[in-house]
């Protein structure tokens, strides 16, 4: 589906400097991350991978068959490996310049500077930075992780990043004006249910990390499992009035079913200021290696078919019952009184004069008449109107319509014969 928000984000057709992908324990967004990487490589972009939870070598190996270009992936993929040896417990094996090892993950500033240097080196072409999971950094320090995130966003600006590492919280990445899509874009995976534990009193005052991250991101993608209604559960609820409580479990056998597809909710803050909200879905394609974006109804298609079956009423005749399978049952059938209209009654209904129609038509012509009364005291105007009403019973001087306000809120009052305007003070006889 080429026009959905998810497809446009994957293909980098519109600008989104920073995309935040949020997932939870039962539904992993790793296939989506792999798809972003595959699309970036297919689009001839350089890829910078900062891996903390997934083995970067196996990630790149999985990408190999997905790219149609035959040239070596080594030219276009740079790996910052914070997965293999994050604490420096193993001896570092050296490696090539495209595979940089982080040996002290506790120094988050160093990680940010390493990524910055590597992105500078590939600044000549379009570049996608993929960060596999902020959770290991969050468990170390929330505020340093936020600074890392901010530093990575600064890398996505069109101009070359400044060498100083000072970060001003109010400074936003400047939009890239020369190219319709981004030169450098950032895609970050975040597990929303792994919350960093509060260890210091200061940590308790930091705002919610998800809110902080999505505030800085231009697009936020939240993945969810396709919600299928449990018809047995609903039927049981109707029948006996209660259902069994769900037993607590971190994971059930229904989780991580990649073949069932995933529903995503996209929140995309465009450069124009408009925010786009869309619900899309994806599932593995026929080969199983790529993802295809599908409409949400496709994943929940079974549900729609079931909703169409309506229990037939026993008194409805057989021929009409077939018609009613896809229609609502007729509410005017089987009543002891008649709700329908004959032709004569229909015509008479059309000819009824509505009470205030004439008054509304008169309003326009009376505006000019009203202007002559300006400058008079309000009480005088009322008496003049009343006098006009009694003296000139024509419709043109109907006092109820001579009001300055048009349309809604105006009060139409026609005093009839029984009305008696009494000028006496009704509270005169009180002896308080």
């Amino acid at each position: 589906m080429p026009n959905t928000a998810l497809h446009r984000l994957l293909a980098a057709r519109d600008s989104s400097p920073c995309t935040l992908i949020c997932d939870r324990l039962g539904t992993s967004a790793l296939p989506l991350l792999r798809e972003f990487a595959a699309c970036a490589l297919a689009d001839d972009q350089a890829l910078v991978l900062l891996c903390t939870e997934v083995d970067p070598e196996s990630f790149v190996t999985e990408l190999k068959p997905l790219t149609k270009y035959q040239r070596s992936l080594r030219c276009s993929v740079t790996i910052v490996d914070a997965y293999t040896n994050p604490f420096g417990w193993e001896e570092s094996t050296g490696g090539d310049k495209r595979h940089y090892h982080i040996t002290n993950i506790n120094d988050i500033r160093h990680v940010a500077s390493v990524v910055g240097e590597l992105v500078k080196k590939v600044s000549s072409q379009r570049c996608t930075i993929i960060l596999d999971s902020l959770s290991p950094f969050l468990l170390i320090s929330s505020h340093q992780t936020f600074q890392l995130f901010k530093k990575l966003i600064d890398l996505t600006s069109g101009s070359s990043p400044s060498p100083a590492l000072t970060i001003f919280p109010h400074q936003r990445a400047s939009p890239n004006d020369t190219h319709p899509t981004d030169t450098t874009r950032l895609i970050v995976l975040h597990h929303t249910d792994i919350l960093p534990p509060i260890t210091t009193p200061l940590a308790a005052t930091i705002p919610n990390i998800l809110a902080s991250l999505s505030h800085l991101s231009s697009a936020t993608i939240t993945v969810q499992p396709p919600r299928t209604t449990d018809h047995d559960r609903e039927a049981q609820l109707l029948r006996v009035g209660f259902v069994a409580e769900e037993q607590f479990a971190y994971l059930t056998s229904e989780d991580h079913r990649v073949d069932r597809g995933v529903v995503v909710e996209v929140e995309w803050k465009r450069k124009s200021g408009k925010v786009l909200y869309e619900t899309n879905a994806y599932r593995p394609d026929k080969s199983g290696s790529r993802l295809e974006v599908v409409p949400v109804s496709t994943l929940l298609g079974l549900e729609e078919q079931i909703e169409r079956v309506i229990v037939e009423e026993p008194t409805v005749s057989k021929s009409s019952s077939r018609r009613n399978i896809t229609q609502q049952p007729d509410p005017t059938a089987n009543l002891s009184f008649n709700l329908s209209l004959t032709e004569e009654q229909r015509r008479a209904r059309g000819n009824v004069v509505l009470p205030y129609m004439k008054a509304q038509r008169m309003q326009v012509s009376n505006l000019s008449f009203l202007f002559t009364f300006r400058g008079y005291h309000h009480g005088t105007i009322l008496h003049l109107w009343l006098f006009a009403f009694w003296s000139f019973p024509s419709d043109a001087l109907n006092p109820a319509t001579t009001t300055a306000s048009g349309g809604g809120g105006s009060i139409y009052y026609e005093p009839d014969a029984a009305d008696d305007f009494d000028d006496e003070d009704p509270d005169d006889d009180l002896t308080i």
């Binding site: 324990l25 939870e53 959770s135 290991p136 509060i198 769900e246 037993q247 056998s253 290696s289």
Partner: protein, 324 residues
């Protein structure tokens, strides 16, 4: 209430005897060896114990042919004696395996917390069969444990069993450290093309503690396969006698000021009760494209099981003989 001396569990289990053929056919691993480069997380609760799965994997690997590497068993919750007694009932001689270097046992229990003044610390390693390969003492980081495991892992397709990692958290290590250790061990095992099996406690009562919850979720996020055992939601289904036995008493003490680590747990599993096993694919399994290099995992499903004297019986949900 809190004892300074960690009391080892002397489980009096008459159950496991001949191995679990039903479990083998359920998991359907080729040659009954868990898949290479996979991390299997076993989660259990107070009402259902996951140790039977550990003993099963251990005995299967030891009985396997020479094509597999050795087994490294890290005992953080039990001492070697416990495993050897259970292993004898399953038909494997752990002491012999240890002497032939097919099995390495790392004792991370007896000296992990502050050692009592009566016993020597650290003990010199006698060469008796029941002595552990290595004994770990308390340290600021978990690096010694990593180094001990690294030294002990030998050969291709080896197996590393951690029993159980919740104790690390309860002993006062931070979440970041404990999760970092599991990740580092996972990398280590993948280098040997082996399998990592960890046992984790995932009770509902622990989920309200943010430290425990973050730890469980982080470890589960690292798994390729999750085997989750828990009691039935409707309570225990008892046998005819209706007995409830207090089977074990585990007291864990932490030496640090960490407020979350004082836990006293005891298990109340009636014998022959029906429990639930769920086989779940982990988050790390979703990234593999379908190909020959991806580990072959069993189908996700939920089953009921009952541990009997000699074996374990599996049946589909709701069709045990006590119900039908």
């Amino acid at each position: 209430m809190q004892s300074r001396i960690p009391v080892p569990c002397g489980r009096s289990e008459p159950k496991h005897a001949m191995g679990y053929h039903a479990l083998d056919s359920l998991l359907a691993f080729p040659a009954n060896i868990p898949p290479a480069r996979a991390h299997i997380v076993i989660t259990d609760t107070l009402s259902a114990d996951g140790n039977f799965l550990l003993h099963h994997f251990l005995s299967n690997h030891l009985k396997a042919g020479p094509g597999t590497g050795n087994v490294v068993l890290v005992g953080i919750a039990h001492i070697f004696n416990h495993y050897s007694i259970v292993g004898r009932k399953l038909g494997v001689n752990l002491q012999q395996s240890k002497q032939s270097h097919r099995l390495a046992f790392i004792d991370a229990l007896t000296h992990l917390n502050r050692a009592p003044s009566a016993s020597p610390s650290p003990p010199s390693l006698p060469s008796t069969p029941s002595a552990p390969t290595t004994v770990l003492t308390r340290s600021a980081t978990l690096r010694p444990l990593h180094d001990a495991v690294s030294a002990a892992l030998v050969g291709d397709r080896s197996l590393l069993i951690l029993d159980d990692i919740s104790v690390l958290l309860w002993s006062g290590y931070g979440v970041a450290e404990a999760v970092g250790l599991i990740r580092a061990l996972r990398v280590l095992v993948q280098k040997h093309n082996g399998t990592l099996i960890t046992l984790l406690h995932a009770d509902e009562q622990l989920a309200s503690d943010p430290v425990q919850d973050a730890f469980v979720r982080s470890v589960l996020g690292m798994a390729e396969l999750v085997l989750s055992v828990q009691g039935l939601g409707s309570g225990f289904s008892r046998d005819v006698h209706g007995q409830v036995n207090l089977q074990r008493l585990r007291i864990y003490d932490c030496g640090s000021a960490d407020a979350h680590s004082h836990v006293m747990c005891f298990s109340l599993t009636p014998p022959h009760s029906v429990l639930q096993l769920s086989i779940i694919h982990g988050a790390q399994s979703t990234i593999h494209v379908p190909s020959s290099t991806a580990p072959a995992l069993p189908t996700p499903q939920t089953l009921h099981y009952k541990i009997l004297d000699n074996t374990v019986q599996f049946f589909a949900r709701g069709v045990s003989e006590g119900v039908l």
